[in-house]
């Protein structure tokens, strides 16, 4: 197989030369790395990666091909992908399309055959950097002759505005509401359909929701209605939900004022609220706490998170570049989990309301299922709320 050349430039001037393994063209975004060794398809289709270029630290990406079963949304949201090696062949009984074909079909720009560990070390030391991939097109196979391409990539990297202050939730959100009726994946049955209608009506704000969150709710007897990010609280409340879910999503939580005010309004009602990742940050902002851009974001599937209540450790999936500032928590917001990697805040709970958030990804997909029980807590809150 012959591949065209590709270039990756970072805003700090670092250059990487490799081959184009996806679509041809140019992609810019914030370059981040993910250390998960499995689940590249889930990561690529996670809306939280909008405007980001993902570097996978594991060298062989694409070993198992792709299957529609493993999509976390209806498209690839990451603006680009960086890997060390695209395997010659995908091998898995569920494989339907090779990763290379998958990327091309979805017009995703990707570069391979670069020293991804060198790139990761740069990102680790500096924090995420803006970058640009140019793949194929005018690039010459003799990379010496690509001075112009390098300049172009570098300029695009430097020109990328960055994610601070960028409200991407409304960009990736669905346009109109829909109900969700698919359960967790099972080896024998695939994605299960619930046998009976859910006990709890949950309205889920889509700030870039991953399907597995909706599946986890469905499996726990929830009837889920997904609504667009900018849906006013009044509309949500009019649906008479038993609980409101705030999804994960990309970008900076601070500019999402529409969501923050909606959450404030819903909090008034004492309805159970559960937020994941961006949703957790928005809950914090609506509760009067602050969020910060982290120097080193969390992107991996091996992160230990400790329950401050039980001291038990959970290995979790993580993907965030912003975090809730623990110093800023008001009295009625308690810390419930912390990261054992850097001590950062991983969970909050309102003391006065049945509302809580979790920074990591309890829905996993990819990653360990250890922390799935936080979904059960949401169900308990709804049960308690219904009983009143």
């Amino acid at each position: 197989m012959h591949y065209k050349p590709a270039i990756l430039a970072l805003e700090d001037g670092s250059l990487f030369e490799g081959i184009a393994i996806g679509a041809e063209g140019q992609a810019t975004g914030e370059v981040v790395f993910n250390t998960a060794m499995s689940g590249y398809q889930e990561i690529l289709t996670d809306p939280s990666y909008a405007q980001q270029i993902i570097t996978f630290t594991y060298p062989h990406i694409g070993n198992t091909g792709t299957t529609p079963e493993d999509d976390e949304s209806d498209k690839v949201w990451a603006s680009g992908m960086v890997i060390r090696d695209l395997p010659m062949l995908a091998s898995n009984f569920r494989n339907e399309q090779s990763l290379g074909e998958f990327l091309k079909q979805r017009n995703v720009i990707a570069i391979a055959e670069i020293d991804t560990r060198r790139l990761t070390r740069i990102l680790r030391d500096h924090g995420p950097l803006n970058g640009c991939i140019i793949a194929g097109g005018e690039l010459d196979a003799d990379l010496e002759k690509n001075a112009a391409g390098r300049e172009l990539a570098l300029a695009a990297a430097k020109g990328f505005p960055g994610l601070v202050g960028m409200d991407l939730a409304k960009v990736v959100s669905c346009e109109k509401s829909y109900s969700w009726e698919e359960g967790f994946w099972d080896l024998n049955e695939g994605h299960r359909k619930p046998e009976q209608e859910g006990q709890f009506h949950v309205v889920a704000y889509d700030f870039g929701v991953k399907r597995n969150i909706l599946r986890m709710l469905t499996d726990r007897s929830c009837k889920v209605t997904v609504v667009p990010a900018q849906t006013p609280a009044s509309e949500v409340l009019a649906m008479s939900p038993d609980g409101v879910f705030l999804s994960n999503g990309p970008g900076d939580p601070e500019p999402c004022d529409y969501a923050i005010s909606a959450i404030k309004e819903i909090l008034e009602t004492d309805l159970p609220i559960f937020g994941i990742c961006l949703g957790h940050q928005l809950l914090a902002l609506a509760s009067g706490a602050k969020t910060v851009k982290m120097k080193l974001g969390h992107h991996g599937a091996n992160h230990p998170v400790q329950s401050l209540e039980s001291s038990k450790v959970f290995i979790t999936s993580q993907n965030h570049g912003f975090a809730v500032d623990e110093e800023s928590l008001p009295d009625y917001l308690t810390a419930t989990y912390k990261s054992l990697f850097d001590g950062s805040l991983q969970g909050i709970h309102r003391t006065d309301k049945p509302a809580f958030g979790f920074q990591g990804h309890p829905e996993a997909s990819p990653g360990p299922h250890d922390i799935a029980p936080v979904f059960d807590h949401f169900i308990e809150l709804m049960q308690a709320s219904k009983a009143v």
Binding site: Q41, D85, L89, F93, P304, K312, V313, P368
Partner: protein, 1073 residues
């Protein structure tokens, strides 16, 4: 919650001798456990019979017992030391079984000792097949279906439920012999009938066949708070049907999607919970049907294992160390991840940004009578691990680290040959140890990935990458060095091709390719193993080479010494050399040097990143070593501790300007080259057995006559006693020259006069170049002619006159001075009729160095290493030989029970895998203990069978009288019986096998014999009597094959069974006082 304070002292049980299936990985885990618990302030008591281990170094524990790992002995140690707790999970199956015995025999209850790390209930639940099956059902997991059949009728019922193919295993046969896979009724009936007959309980296990399924392993750690982590996932290259220890394996798992991987992860954690592993590490094995993903649990081990050692090296996460801390009450979050310098906790899952490949190493050539196919019973003796950024790179690195004379995918078959297709099909379908090379040859022969998948069931993901390597090689044929532009060569190096392999494919020399590569400035970079894929900075210099942009070696400007390790364990080169390398590294650190280790054996202590300052996990080949030297620029490189692997590089390294320290390459050559050695012996006025080097049959016959029979014959180009034989007459010599070896001008055959019935000695000395100190003299029990590695030996000598010992000392000192030895030297000598003969001199670390060090209480390897950096013996205050005040016997341990049908006779070719040590106030006690340490116990009474060769007959009357006086009934073959009868001792005469039934083998099969003294000589006689010894082996009858060891056995029997146990620390204190 911190560590437990209610326990103060802990007994750690080791794994005993190195055997197939239980190698030095348990030294690695045991040594880690000792260190981990000792630094927490616990008093550590250790029992392990294997003196070649680092864990039995006296500094590792407070009380070290080199005693049998057997409950009666361990009870004596418990009575003496009164530990509060026992940790049974660090010493493999041996330690677990010993702990279960101690529990069953009431010892634990009697002395109030607690099992920590794994409770009895958990061990039982994991080990008992029925309990395990039930436990898996309880958590909704499947195990392979299986049934027990006690008749052919039962068997057919089971087969009906399982379908074809199915696996039939007779119960309780050694090495699983008599079993097989049935694909049809005819085969089924045949195997079942044979199996029912062979099984002592007339019982068959009939299993569902998972052949062709994919196999995975997960290494799991759990603490008392139910925190669980998966340290590593491993995918087997070889599908189910080949023991995982014999499989090529790859980490991390490659062909699972996240959804499937999480199923395995969840199942593993559920299994640990259900089995009840509360504090420690376990290994869980799964089979997955590649067609639909169906999952079955194959087994779990509630202890650290070979796989956990591999996983520790593959990830940088020290499982045994962490498991030891968890056993005393720590939780994972309280422990730090050392490799990142403690900035992250141990409660996380390592993530890899490289690929690890392990390839097992086999030694079927040592056991030609044994079937060499890979099955569900493990047969490999060692392994190599390699790290690369891609699978291709790590695979090719692993291949060249194997030490089997290949530097990548060297062909094993001439694919043009007329029978090539047949051979390929057989090797692909019924794999042997070279399976992966036949896969490559199949691609060379034009087979496709699909063809190969059909024949091997190896995942296509792996196959296509091997195909790609072969396609690259094919493209290179006919290319020249000029075609190597920077980009072309760089791309090939990125795929893991060695210079030597590229050269071989193109018909060039390795040096041509290396020079070209240097001229293009292509060198590898070094990346770090850091558990976190570079997410955090790493404080630890654990590195591997690859061809990428950024190098993280970050070399220091300190004074530094590189120690080259020994590569994979194999028969002839095992843990003893790793022991020496570890000591060399420690010695260098003590002297303020930066110690740099290079090795590729994942089982070892030397590849523990805590042993050296910097660890390069690399193949020990010329290319890989040169590159490390290139980047590190060391002050010295030590080659004499890692056995033949580094030693054979010495000439080239020296020629290329690498600063070798210690004994010079020239001195090594002087000792190894026959003619130069002869001159040396003559110069010093010493004696050698008459010998000659011959290059043709005619020359051999002439020289043989001149030297005098019997002769020890061997090809000059092999080491470790390969193809060495004793011939007793001209006919045998001719047969040997004609059939056993290729004699030619380039590959001559060496003839030595065989010193019949001579006493053989091993001597280790250390020298700083000026002064020589004898480490010790060891007297072999078996006479000369048995490979020194297979012979038991006594330290100090038990029957060698003192003046002879002094003569030996003097001769060895002269040899060391003349050779200019700086470091260690080992000499093998023989004593016959008042004369001392020099058999062999090796100016390097020997197999006996750890044993000697354990006896004298001083590390010879450390002293030698310090000599090499210029610290004199005087400065080290080691100027006098230390003669222990006790006797120690080293006995060899053999893998015969893994190779059914093999004749367990000892000879000039080494066959042992490990060793044990017994100590005592007398030789008899030490020998007795050494004999109880292996698989067989010495019987104190019963019936003894005696049959000896002509030369030994004069000695037999006395031996018979002695055994009779101990109460043994005697049985002998006619010739031997006559002598015994004539001496007035009652004896029953029995037929040899050829003399008609009932014969001796019938008696053995009827369990009528308890002790065998069977000496024999000459090829025909050996072949005729082989069934006696192999039957004895199968029936667990103690068998001695030399008259010298029979005499030692008698002494041990007189001593009886009342042994004492003494710690090394106590024994060493006696030495100096």
């Amino acid at each position: 919650m911190p560590k437990r304070t209610d326990i103060k002292s802990i007994l750690i049980i080791g794994a005993g001798p190195i055997v197939i299936g239980q190698a030095c990985e348990f030294d690695y885990s045991g040594a880690q456990a000792c260190q981990a618990l000792r630094e927490e302030g616990y008093r550590i008591i250790l029992v392990n019979s294997n003196p070649a281990t680092i864990m039995t170094d006296p500094g590792m524990a407070d009380a070290t017992y080199i005693e049998p790992v057997e409950w009666r002995t361990v009870e004596k140690i418990i009575a003496k030391e009164r530990p509060d707790a026992i940790i049974p999970t660090m010493g493999g199956q041996t330690a677990l079984n010993c702990a279960l015995d101690l529990d069953r025999e009431g010892v634990l209850a009697k002395y109030g000792v607690e099992l920590i790390g794994a409770k009895k209930e958990a061990i039982d639940k994991a080990e008992d097949r029925e309990l395990f099956d039930n436990a898996m059902v309880a958590i909704g997991l499947e195990t392979p279906k299986h049934y027990i059949a006690r008749s052919l009728e039962d068997a057919y019922k089971a087969q009906d439920l399982l379908g074809f193919p199915c696996i039939i295993r007779p119960s309780f046969t050694m090495g699983g012999s008599g079993g097989g896979i049935a694909y049809n009724k005819e085969e089924f009936e045949e195997i079942c009938k044979r199996g029912l007959d062979l099984s002592p309980t007339n019982e068959l296990l009939i299993d569902e066949s998972l052949i062709g399924w994919k196999e995975y392993e997960l290494e799991v750690v759990r603490d008392k708070n139910d925190n669980c982590i998966i340290v590593c996932s491993i995918e087997n290259f070889d599908p189910m049907g080949i023991h995982t220890g014999d499989s090529i394996t790859v980490a991390p798992a490659q062909t699972l999607t996240d959804k499937e991987y999480q199923i395995l992860r969840n199942a593993s954690i559920a299994i640990l919970r259900e089995i009840g592993v509360e504090t420690g590490g376990s290994n869980v094995q799964f089979g997955i049907n590649p067609v639909d993903g169906r999952l079955v649990v194959v087994e779990m081990n509630p202890r650290v294992s070979r796989s956990s050692a591999l996983a520790s090296k593959a990830t940088g996460f020290p499982i045994a160390r962490v498991a030891a801390k968890l056993a005393v009450g720590f939780t994972l979050d309280e422990l730090s991840n050392e490799i990142t310098g403690g900035i992250t906790p141990a409660s996380f899952e390592p993530t890899l940004d490289y690929v690890v490949t392990k390839i097992p190493r086999f030694t079927f050539e040592k056991f030609p009578q044994a079937p060499d196919r890979l099955t569900t019973q493990m047969k490999s003796v060692g392994e190599v691990m390699a790290i690369g950024r891609t699978f291709q790179e790590s695979l090719q690195k692993a291949l060249r680290g194997m030490e089997i004379g290949i530097c990548g995918f060297d062909p094993v078959l001439d694919v043009e040959a007329s029978n090539a297709k047949d051979v390929l099909l057989r090797e692909l379908k019924d794999p042997g140890c070279d399976r992966i090379r036949y896969v490559a040859d199949a691609f060379r022969a034009g087979m496709s990935v699909e063809d190969l998948f059909e024949h091997t069931a190896i995942d296509r993901w792996f196959l296509v990458q091997i195909e790609d390597i072969i396609l690259e090689e094919n493209r290179l044929k006919g290319a020249s060095l000029e075609d190597f532009t920077h980009d072309v060569l760089y791309r090939l190096k990125r795929k893991g091709f060695s210079d030597e392999r590229l050269a071989a494919v193109m018909g060039l020399s390795e040096e041509d390719v290396r020079n070209k590569r240097y001229s293009l400035d292509i060198h590898p970079v070094y990346k770090r193993v850091d558990t976190c894929a570079a997410e955090f900075s790493s404080a630890t210099a654990y590195m591997y080479s690859t061809y990428e942009e950024e190098c993280e070696a970050n070399v220091s400007d300190r004074k530094k010494i590189i120690v080259l390790g020994g590569g994979p364990n194999r028969i002839g080169q095992g843990i003893e050399f790793d022991y020496c390398c570890v000591h060399a590294a420690l010695a260098m650190r003590e002297e303020g040097y930066e110690a740099i280790m290079v090795n590729c054996n994942p089982e070892t202590v030397s590849t523990d990143f805590n042993i050296s300052d910097r660890l390069y996990f690399e193949p020990v080949t010329l290319e890989d070593v040169l590159e490390i030297v290139h980047i590190e620029k060391p002050d010295g490189v030590i080659v004499q501790f890692g056995g033949q692997t580094p030693l054979k590089l010495v000439t080239q390294l020296e020629r290329l300007g690498v600063p070798i320290i210690g004994t010079s390459a020239d001195a090594i050559d002087r000792a190894e080259d026959r003619e130069r050695f002869q001159h040396l012996i003559q110069k010093l006025n010493l004696k050698q057995p008459p010998n000659s080097t011959v290059r043709s049959l005619e020359e051999a016959v002439v020289e043989g006559k001149k030297i005098g029979y019997p002769l020890v014959v061997r090809p000059s180009y092999v080491l470790g006693g390969r193809a060495m034989e004793i011939v007793y007459n001209e006919a045998e010599l001719k047969r040997y020259i004609n059939s056993a070896v290729d004699v030619s001008h380039e590959s001559p055959v060496l003839l030595d006069h065989y010193l019949n019935s001579a006493i053989e000695m091993d001597v280790d000395v250390v020298s700083d170049g000026k002064q020589v100190v004898v480490g010790s003299i060891m007297q072999h029990i078996e006479q000369a002619g048995v490979h020194s590695g297979d012979s038991a030996c006594s330290l100090p000598p038990y029957s060698l006159p003192m003046e002879i010992q002094d003569k030996i000392r003097q001769q060895c000192v002269e040899l060391a001075i003349e050779l200019g030895v700086v470091g260690l030297m080992n000499a093998q000598l023989a004593y016959q009729d008042g004369e001392v003969y020099i058999i062999e001199v090796n100016p390097r670390a020997s197999r006996t160095v750890p044993f000697v060090s354990k006896c004298i209480g001083v590390s010879l390897a450390k002293i030698a290493a310090k000599c090499m950096v210029g610290i004199s013996l005087e400065a080290q205050n080691f100027t006098n030989e230390i003669v222990p005040s006790f006797y120690a016997v080293k006995e060899a341990i053999f893998p015969f029970n893994k190779f059914p049908g093999v004749d367990p006779i000892l000879g000039p070719e080494m066959k042992s895998t490990g060793e044990v040590m017994g100590t005592g106030a007398t030789f008899a006690e030490a020998y007795y203990k050494s004999q109880g340490l292996g698989a067989l116990n010495l019987p104190l009474n019963g019936t003894a069978f005696i049959s000896v060769r002509e030369v030994d007959k004069p000695e037999i009357a006395e031996l018979a009288k002695n055994l009779h006086s101990l109460g043994f009934r005697l049985v002998a073959t006619k010739g031997t019986a006559k002598i015994i009868e004539d001496a007035g001792i009652p004896v029953m005469s029995v037929n040899k096998v050829m003399e008609g039934r009932p014969h001796i083998v019938d008696m053995l099969k009827n369990d009528e014999i308890d002790l065998i003294v069977n000496t024999t000589e000459g090829r025909q006689a050996i072949a005729d009597s082989a069934t006696i010894r192999s039957t004895a082996l199968r029936h667990g009858v103690y068998c001695t094959t030399t008259i010298a060891s029979a005499k030692a056995v008698y002494e041990a029997l007189v001593f009886g069974g009342d042994t004492s146990v003494n710690s090394l620390q106590y024994l060493h204190a006696q030495n100096t006082s």
